[in-house]
């Protein structure tokens, strides 16, 4: 019998795809084998699509009894070596935080798609609101770093999901994809590359040849460099005898209490030391820009138009786009904002989670203008108005 891999990849070409479906296809391309989910608007299409597609590739899509069960099943599947993911929205995410914090501790990777909707509480379920950006950074008790992607189109949902799975295998921490209600339901053309091209990008879950090696992140005694080994797999020789979510060393053996600080350092520095490799950013007309727009997700699309319009009027403005929101690329932003006349941060939330991060690394005399929008998209004119005001 075939192993079902024949249906893993779509035929190369252009497809008109919904955002949620593009993300699901991206996951399948990177070798998704388990999906545990619970229906919640606006992420429901992901589980609907994968319920049909995953059995075709020999995987398993389970509708669990609640969000807690779905994230735990995902963790269980990832423990035994399957690439696993879940998709939910804000209320589901808040339920799942318990397991996210445990997964960070035992360094079990999985990908987590958050199709954000307007909150707090149940809120408006069908409109976008980037209100989980802060929650994803601090999801769960305890200290740990996460990686979060903010795609802005269906094509990116497909591509970045593959990158997200690769990051999960490499850095072994919770990975978020911050989609939203409009991006998840938008229909756009997605260009599916040929199978060989995708396979070249994908990092598979394999057992290293030397199975006696370390199972958890650890510090090299001589170089003090952090080593991140491949994730262990339960049910094989490459697995610690005891998996426990307490401070542990590279083999899963408990650390004495006085070493907890060292453990925290290892867990957090594995991301912070690699921030240059992890963080993905994009620049647009930034070379001579005096006014800088820093943004992520859907507002970037409106910003492009606003910048083009402003340039026609002779205002020197450029965009610095965060593709990975977390970890926040502190050093990169620091370099970009030097000498800027003003910084504009259009965000789809009122508090301005990223604006606060930008404030952290900017000189006090550079004004930071927030352009908040909730439950609706930014119109280019909204951003253009802000640009013209500071250019006066």
């Amino acid at each position: 019998m075939s192993n079902g891999n024949g249906k893993r990849f779509l035929k190369p070409g252009k497809y008109l795809m919904m955002g949620n479906v593009a993300m699901a296809e991206g996951a399948l391309s990177s070798g998704l084998k388990f999906f545990g989910g619970y229906p919640i608007t606006p992420s429901t299409e992901v589980i609907e699509h994968l319920a049909k597609r995953l059995p075709e590739v020999g995987g398993c899509c389970m509708q669990m009894e609640d969000e807690l069960a779905s994230i735990n099943a995902v963790m269980g599947a990832s423990l035994v070596g399957a690439k696993a993911m879940t998709a939910t929205s804000g209320p589901g995410l808040s339920l799942m935080t318990e397991t996210i914090s445990m997964a960070a501790n035992i360094e079990i990777p999985f990908v987590f798609c958050d199709v954000q909707r307007c909150g707090p509480g149940t809120g408006f379920v069908t409109v976008p609101h980037h209100n989980d950006v802060g929650l994803t950074r601090f999801a769960g008790n305890g200290e740990f770093e996460v990686i979060a992607f903010a795609p802005m189109s269906c094509q990116e949902l497909f591509d970045l999901t593959i990158t997200a799975f690769n990051y999960a295998e490499t850095y072994r921490c919770p990975i978020f994809i911050l989609s939203d209600a409009y991006l998840g339901h938008i229909h756009e053309v997605v260009n599916i590359p040929p199978k060989e091209e995708i396979l070249k990008r994908v990092i598979d879950r394999t057992i290293p040849e030397d199975t006696k090696g370390a199972k958890f992140t650890y510090e090299d005694i001589n170089t003090h460099k952090l080593m991140i080994p491949k994730p262990y797999i339960v049910g094989t020789e490459f697995c610690p005898p005891l998996i426990i979510h307490l401070p542990h060393n590279q083999d899963g053996v408990l650390m004495p209490e006085e070493n907890s600080l060292r453990f925290m350092k290892i867990m957090i520095d594995k991301i912070r030391d690699n921030i240059d490799k992890i963080s993905l950013t994009e620049e647009y007309k930034l070379d001579d820009a005096e006014i800088i727009i820093i943004s992520y997700g859907l507002p970037v699309r409106a910003s492009y138009r606003a910048v083009d319009l402003a340039r026609k009027k002779g205002i020197k403005v450029g965009i610095f786009r965060l593709i990975t929101v977390w970890p926040f690329p502190k050093e990169k932003v620091k370099k970009v904002v030097v000498g800027a006349k003003a910084i504009i941060v259009p965000e789809m939330n009122y508090t301005g989670v990223i604006a606060e991060q930008v404030e952290r690394v900017t000189d006090l005399n550079i004004p930071i203008i927030k352009v908040p929008k909730v439950a609706t998209l930014h119109h280019p004119d909204d951003i253009l108005k802000a640009i013209e005001e500071v250019a006066k």
Partner: protein, 302 residues
């Protein structure tokens, strides 16, 4: 009994010392449980079955929830793949493991607060799916690790730190719940019947489907010391259960075999544990096998 027989000068070697995790790490059996606790015996019994049945550790991972019994990993077999997971979520994690690697048969350890309290939903749905795994519920009718609060299984009239006057809520029955939810092998025994426990465990290992085995264990420190063996009911004066022996006697007295219970009235069975095998249905369809059929339909024409 003379002291020579009870405490022989030469300590006999434990037959399963080398097999246990604690024996491997420290060369001796170390238990972190209170005096009179039943979990030490459970850990040993698990090691015995694991050794005797020559279980493949790669196929029988041990998923442990949160409770006093989490410390059982010191006593279980050294080769067993031990995983400490979250409070109440062990059944959900086992579901993911089983579905991602259907050759596995996860063994889940959970407590009464763990399985019937916080994880009640996961427990019900595990039984409903009839996923191939073994679920142990260690019922000591108290939250031991946090210091003796009332559990969903605490018997009527019992004193705990959160029910200082008496427990007045009706108790939750793990076996009834498992039967209603559709588990295909359901049994209850006590730690005062260790051979029966081993028998049920071995039977569950051969069974395909969800096996739920509830084990009644004593908690001397937080349940026994605070409660009389008549649990405050009127009539005969009760005696405080402040030793393991007294609690074992109470558990034996309080357990009624299912065959005997058939002829007893509801009033007579109040606050009693019915023990025995409640259901054994090997013909019920198992979840991962059913899913395999779905995969075969979906993969057609591949």
């Amino acid at each position: 009994m003379s002291d020579d027989i009870r405490y022989p000068s030469e300590k006999p070697e434990h037959p399963y010392l080398d097999s246990s995790f604690s024996g491997m790490l420290l060369g001796t059996l170390v238990s972190r449980f209170c005096a009179g606790c039943g979990y030490g015996s459970i850990g040993q019994l698990y090691t015995r079955v694991f050794e005797d049945e020559k279980l493949d550790p790669n196929l029988y991972p041990l998923v442990i929830g949160i409770g006093c019994y989490s410390q059982i990993f010191f006593l279980v077999h050294k080769n067993a793949q031990k995983m400490l997971t979250l409070h109440g979520r062990a059944p959900a994690i086992a579901t993911g493991m089983k579905m991602a690697n259907p050759k596995m048969k996860p063994i889940i350890f959970s407590g009464d607060g763990d399985c019937l309290g916080i994880g009640g939903n996961h427990f019900i749905h595990l039984c409903r799916r009839n996923l191939d795994c073994i679920l142990f519920i260690f019922n000591n009718s108290i939250y031991g690790m946090t210091g003796g609060q009332a559990a969903p299984t605490t018997l009527y009239g019992a004193i705990s730190t959160t029910t200082p006057y008496k427990m007045f809520e009706p108790r939750s029955d793990g076996v009834e719940l498992a039967l209603a939810a559709g588990a295909s092998y359901v049994a209850r025994t006590t730690i005062a019947h260790p051979r029966t426990l081993m028998k049920y465990f071995k039977k569950a290992l051969k069974h395909k489907g969800t096996s739920v085995i509830e084990v009644i264990t004593p908690c001397v420190t937080y349940f026994g010391r605070k409660n009389l063996d008549n649990l405050g009911s009127e009539g005969e004066p009760g005696e405080i259960m402040d030793t393991g022996g007294k609690m074992f006697e109470w558990i034996k007295k309080n357990s009624i075999h299912i065959n005997q219970a058939k002829f007893m009235s509801k009033e007579e069975l109040f606050n009693k544990y019915i023990i025995g095998e409640f259901r054994y249905n090997p013909s019920k369809s198992e979840y991962s096998e059913e899913y395999k059929k779905i995969q075969n339909i979906a993969m057609k024409g591949d």
